[in-house]
Amino acid sequence: MKPATVAPGSRLDCASDQSLLVSFGDQISLEAHRRVHWLLTCLQNEPVAGTLNLHPAYCSLLIKFDPRRTTHQQVEREVRERMANMDPGSATGRRQVEIPVCYGVDFGPDLASLAELRGLLIDDLIRIHSQQTYTVFFLGFVPGFAYLGTVPETIAAPRLASPRRRVEAGSVGIAGHQTGVYPFPVPGGWQIIGKTPLSMFRADRDPMSLLAVGDEVRFRPIPVDEYVRIERGGA
């Protein structure tokens, strides 16, 4: 199958024998994100026959299908038909989510060194991080891990040279111009600046994931005692 233009800057490619990748350019932008979000919502509301899974990312959506039930050609045809009616402006009933974060202290082991690296006071770094409104571009890595953008250039952070073997659940990190919260204690290379007492993902909650694609997120700095209070409250 030849890559084909559907809408300006979009293309469909066979990513494997059981998946199709729809891309909207190759830049991280809100414009591309809105298209991904629109197509994701469209395919979730009315699934294409034979499709199994959807993997959204910054400017692309991977569509996994069952080759026993359909083909690349059939899925491509259906997706093109949907995209002919694309209205990315309409997918923006955006939820606002506030995430309380206790920066630094014992919760953000990289906060001081990152501030020094960027030539900022710790309080300035906290203010810059918490004054920005971030968009959930997609969830990936592990269940409930939201890739949030865009982190201002002044506090953008390189990944750690050697990733930690274990990052605590709730840890808030920065990598490049992305920020995010670790839902589970897993290995990770993002620079950790604080921690939230909220559970990002709980199997016994509906919805399980605190964040969903397209949400708008703000971080609110909180002192330790409030962290403890929220944590005890089981939020």
Binding site: A15, S16, Q27, F138, G144
Partner: protein
């Protein structure tokens, strides 16, 4: 109930996985060798997707507290029922008080213990599969431990006695995996493609259900470009900067940022689940059309009424 006397190296509850939750960052997980699990369930008359136990390299011992039927499939871990060796791919009657024991593998990486009616655990996102990294699914989201008890209620007597060896041979795991072109295959040198298709790679010790790290000829880039994170397909062969490939596997990250040189075809994914550390593996390029034909052919064998013998 079934009591875990010794858990083995890495024994988890697995079914055919949970598709459809990629938007939450949740990968499908499921049996590393789904063909073996499906055959085990078919032998017992279970749903194909019923949960069983997946053993990795070294099995364990399980005391049955119920009368039931079992089938052991996949690689040969030298299974015993009390003191007697038992055949793979065969239905066995197990009585309350008996112990099923697995030893170390004599062939591939994984073996399955299927039980009449399936292993019952609370479902997470519609599946019993354990997702080890995030601690979700299966039994408390983790590998089994000594003293764990697993619920299994025997269903009707099994419809079959054993796998038809002729059909089984067609479904046997391969060491030469068929692949299709990856989206970034053009980023690599001609020499890199030749190396991937003409030399063997060795499975590294640092391999698990998330991915298999391979060691062999370095895959050189012709073009070095920064990748923007995209969704990653199961079986993708990613190449990090060092040039040593990684095969993305069942407990994968849903997205990734490494160039993909090729993809293991769907029909050969179960074979990936049988690769052990230090095993040699080869890759053979085929077209998307051939990949689909292979899968349909495999499915015909798996669903054939010749599959099982009574």
């Amino acid at each position: 109930m079934i009591r875990v006397e010794s858990p083995g190296l890495m024994t988890t509850v697995q079914d055919l996985g949970r598709e459809g939750f990629g938007p939450l960052g949740v990968s499908a997980s499921g049996a590393a060798d789904p063909i073996a699990l499906r055959i085990g369930n078919r032998l017992l008359g279970n749903r194909e997707a019923a949960a069983g136990l997946e053993f990795t390299l070294v099995g364990g011992a399980f005391r049955f507290e119920i009368d039931t039927w079992i089938a052991i499939t996949g690689s040969d871990f030298g299974p015993m029922l009390d003191d007697a060796p038992v055949d793979l791919w065969t239905v066995h009657r197990v009585r309350a008080g008996q112990i099923v024991r697995m030893r170390s593998t004599r062939s591939g990486a994984r073996c399955y213990l299927c039980v009449s009616g399936g292993i019952k655990v609370p479902l997470f996102l519609a599946s019993a599969s354990t997702h080890v990294l995030s601690g979700l699914g299966g039994l408390d989201g983790r590998a089994l431990r000594k003293g764990d008890r697993l619920q299994a209620d025997p269903a009707a007597p099994p419809p079959a006695q054993r796998l038809n060896p002729e059909v089984g041979a067609k479904l046997a795991p391969r060491r030469r995996l068929r692949v299709t072109d990856g989206l970034q295959c053009g980023w690599f040198t001609v020499a890199a493609r030749r190396a991937l298709f003409e030399t063997a790679y060795q499975v590294s010790e640092a391999s698990n259900r998330m991915g298999l790290r391979l060691e062999g000829a370095v895959l050189e880039f012709a073009i070095r470009r920064e990748m923007i994170t995209t969704g990653v397909a199961l079986g993708a062969i990613q190449v990090p900067a060092g040039g040593q490939p990684v095969v993305v596997f069942v407990e994968q990250q849903t997205t990734g940022g490494y160039p993909i040189i090729a993809n293991v075809v769907a029909a050969d994914l179960a074979s990936v689940g049988q690769l052990r550390p230090r095993d040699a593996v080869e890759f053979e390029p085929i077209s998307l059309e051939s990949a689909r034909d292979l899968l349909l052919e495999q499915e015909t064998s798996l669903t054939s009424d010749q599959l099982l013998l009574s």
